[in-house]
């Protein structure tokens, strides 16, 4: 139980320190971003002091983390709006997009992993080919994939909008056609990436004595799959899915920009550019919490199915 609580807290702490440290190392700061580089040194110093940026790093970190513990994510250093307001504007759109992408990713990932795993189990040539194809798919940058999809479906077939402008008021679900291309552009590379991670696990499970024994006994194959293979894959699959889900939430920037979809990813990239630490931290923590939540779920699954050793 302590492990269940302490580990995630420790990981979140490390993530926040790492993000804070990384932004700290970047040249320039939010005061300079606000003045656009066109203020005098004295004005800039006053702005910096007003934002509390003249305090030592540990002190700023402590007051940010302290605020977070009280449920206060602070205010933007650039616009002074509450971070919670800024996130609330962008989060729903990204959640919907990531959710749709995940709905495509999960079955696709499992199918690809199964394909890779069984190929590896059968013979090495097929394994090399399938594995190579999937790895290749995983390596295609999102931006290329997004562009190809847009040209194909929006340009040539004229079936889908080339940009995904959110409806003026209300949820993106009010105009679901805008979600298809960005969701696919996110899902396919993510699924391929996850399949690369999970494929080995599938092959390993198929090689296990109880599986080969069952096959030798003449147990129907579907039953072998459901009874003997899938339970062993539940935990590793859940882990991979947790990683992929967290990744989807934090890596939507490119796809959002290409399709003009106003979500969290663009906010993250922009806030790193303006050195808006409280906003960057908030988005990073959200992604970290998603990954951790998924990993905990995977652990729970592993415990339930007794496949702790399957890692």
């Amino acid at each position: 139980m302590t492990r269940l609580v302490l580990r995630p807290v420790a990981v979140l702490f490390l993530v926040s320190v790492a993000v804070f440290g990384a932004t700290e190392l970047l040249p320039s700061d939010a005061a300079q971003a606000r003045s656009g580089g066109r203020a005098s040194a004295a004005q800039e110093a006053a702005l910096r002091a007003g934002l509390g940026l003249d305090r030592p790093a540990w002190e700023r970190y402590a007051s940010w983390a302290g605020g977070l513990l009280r449920g206060d994510a602070g205010r933007s250093l650039v616009t002074e709006r509450p971070v919670s307001d800024i996130l609330a504007e962008r989060l729903p759109a990204t959640l919907v997009l990531a959710g749709c992408a995940l709905a495509v990713t999960v079955p696709l990932l499992l199918a690809l992993a199964w394909l890779a795993g069984t190929a590896a189990h059968r013979d090495s040539r097929a394994a090399g080919l399938t594995g190579g194809l999937i790895t290749g798919l995983a390596a295609v940058p999102q931006v290329v994939f997004a562009a190809v999809l847009a040209v194909l479906f929006a340009g040539l077939l004229r079936r889908l909008p080339p940009v995904s402008l959110l409806p003026a008021a209300g949820s993106p679900l009010a105009a679901p056609e805008i979600l298809v291309l960005p969701a696919l552009a996110l899902a396919v590379p993510a699924a391929a990436y996850g399949a690369v991670l999970l494929g080995g696990g599938v092959a390993d499970t198929l090689r296990r004595p109880h599986v080969t024994a069952a096959v030798a006994r003449g147990v129907p194959r579907l039953r072998v799959a459901v009874r003997h293979v899938l339970p062993h894959l539940a935990a590793p699959a859940a882990r991979v899915l947790a990683l992929v889900a967290g990744g989807l939430l934090a890596s939507t920037a490119v796809v959002e920009t290409v399709f003009g979809y106003g979500g969290l990813g663009e906010l993250l990239v922009g806030s790193i550019g303006t050195r808006d630490l409280p906003v960057v931290q908030a988005v990073a923590m959200l992604a970290a919490v998603t990954v951790l939540g998924g990993l905990l779920l995977a652990d729970a699954l592993a415990a339930a199915t007794g496949t702790e050793d399957a890692r």
């Binding site: 320039s28 004005q43 199918a111 069984t118 940009v163 679901p176 979600l179 290409v258 550019g273």
Partner: protein, 505 residues
């Protein structure tokens, strides 16, 4: 195992398709045609703000403010002043005390009348945010300014300043006196009020009773989209009516397309090459002149702005009403450039490093092309491409040779931020007490004709002796559907005022 694999694979794929169609099905929301102007413009989530008195880097925020709030005055497309909330702006003899009369029929959306106290409160806020808004109101003594009555105020300037009306035709957005929180948008007295959405995606509805008359369009939707290509696609695919600031390449492609048109706003951008007068070799006026003479301006205009613009003549604000006229244009003269360099002791050649970035489309192309143009005169230029997020703090106003940017701002603004000795970012190190003095004298000149001539002469000096190579001014390019009419055509601030823009069908 083969059958097993195929079966699982197919059912999983089936699931994927089902999931996708669940995301992709449903009715397309009906769009009320003709009544709603869908306007897509530049805006980053990280900078979105409700505060109309700071830096306002997002055009999306500026357009929203211009619809929600009233300003004292605004520029017209031709650069002259249009009074809005103010009905008269008149000086005393010394040009240091100005009386601003306000219209009496303006009211905030909560019903309260707009009073002089609200105006002064807003002006003081703008002054307090000098560090963020390029010192927009530093010419005013806001503490010494005062409310005379409900619709009159008295503004003091720190020195004689004959161009107060032009100083007031900027972000003088009026919010109710005492507004301290900008977490939510304060009430405004402009032609539209916010009816829904958020800062990235705003729905505005017109007010029936605005002092300026009822706007022609019932609703305006403003969307902030960062990528110029995505903005253009929105119009090309019929998802939006206006895409502001598209790339020249997009405008060119749209030429044969009857469904769309391109609105050109002259003098909206320039990427001058900046030379620091206090560093070698640019401290030698012959070197600066040689570089200006070696530049092929037409080629730069054709390749960077694809011809959308006007060849530059090193005048920093050619679209300003005070810009001098009748100066013979500079033509490329390589032999004279070489001769000047030889006189300056660089007969054996000159090695320079020019910084550029990708903040605005074509800045990097401009630098590379410019470097190539200087080569025949014996100037070898190494171009370094710097990351855009630190360019304006680490390179701009610091390096001795780089690619700069001005976004269609008037001469008085350029002077304040970049030309006076006291300017915080005097990027060319143009520090000439005599020039500063002549500028102060011009602003103390009440006669408009004499003042214009004096300001024009100051601009000519910068052109001939300064450190700016202004090779062209590029047009602002807005892509609209063919049914959009009356989009603003001014270069800078004026283009944010879209309350008269309408749909013809």
């Amino acid at each position: 195992m083969k059958r097993l694999r195929a079966g699982a694979g197919v059912s999983a794929l089936g699931l994927a398709v089902t999931a996708l169609s669940a995301c992709g099905s449903g009715d397309t929301a009906a769009r009320p045609a003709g009544k709603t102007l869908r306007y897509v413009t530049v805006g980053a989530a990280a900078a979105a703000t409700n505060d109309p008195h700071g830096g306002i880097p997002n055009q999306s925020d500026l357009v929203r403010f211009a619809l929600m709030y009233d300003v004292l005055a605004k520029p017209r497309a031709d650069g002259t002043t249009e009074l809005r909330l103010a009905t008269a702006i008149t000086p005393d003899d010394k040009l240091t005390t100005w009386t601003v009369k306000l219209r009496t029929d303006a009211a905030f959306s909560d019903g309260r009348p707009v009073r002089a106290a609200d105006v002064l409160f807003s002006l003081r806020r703008i002054h307090a945010k000098s560090a963020e808004n390029f010192g927009r109101f530093t010419m005013f003594d806001v503490a010494g300014s005062k409310v005379v009555d409900d619709h009159t105020l008295e503004l003091r300037t720190t020195a004689p300043y004959a161009e107060v009306p032009r100083a007031l035709e900027s972000i003088t957005f009026v919010v109710p006196e005492g507004t301290t929180s900008f977490d939510k948008a304060p009430a405004g007295s402009g032609p539209y009020a916010m009816a829904g959405g958020n800062l990235q995606n705003t729905v505005l509805e017109r007010k029936d009773k605005w002092w300026g008359g009822r706007p022609p369009t019932e609703r305006v939707e403003i969307r902030a989209v960062i990528d110029p290509q995505a903005r253009a696609q929105a119009v090309l695919s019929g998802q939006a009516d206006v895409a502001s600031s598209v790339n020249p390449a997009t405008a060119k492609q749209a030429r044969g397309n009857k469904a769309v048109k391109v609105v050109r706003r002259a003098g909206a951008v320039m990427y001058p090459f900046v030379m620091r007068l206090d560093r070698e070799p640019f401290d030698d006026p012959r070197v600066r002149e040689a570089i200006k003479l070696a530049t092929d301006r037409q080629e730069l205009l054709d390749k960077v702005f694809l011809g959308y613009g006007k060849v530059g003549d090193d005048l920093l604000t050619p679209n300003d009403p005070t810009s001098p006229t009748g100066i013979p244009p500079r033509t490329r003269d390589l032999s004279k450039a070489k001769e000047l360099l030889r006189q300056a002791g660089h007969g054996g050649g000159l090695n320079l490093t020019l910084a550029t970035t990708t903040s605005y489309p074509g800045m990097d192309t401009a630098a590379t092309l410019f470097a190539k143009q200087l080569e025949p005169s014996g100037i070898r230029v190494k171009v370094v491409n710097e990351p855009p997020d630190t360019y304006w703090t680490k390179v701009f106003a610091k390096r001795d040779f780089y690619t700069g940017y001005f976004g269609g701002i008037p001469f008085l603004d350029v002077t304040r931020v970049s030309l006076l000795s006291s300017a915080p970012t005097n990027e060319t190190a143009w520090k000439r007490p005599a020039w500063d003095k002549a500028y102060a004298e011009a602003l103390a000149t009440a006669d408009p004709g004499r003042r214009k001539a004096a300001l024009g002469e100051l601009q000519r000096q910068i052109r001939d002796e300064g450190g700016y190579v202004v090779w062209a001014t590029g047009d602002g390019l807005d892509l609209t559907s063919s049914r959009v009419a009356d989009l603003p055509t001014g270069p800078g601030f004026e283009s944010s005022f879209i309350e008269r823009t309408r749909l013809t069908s």
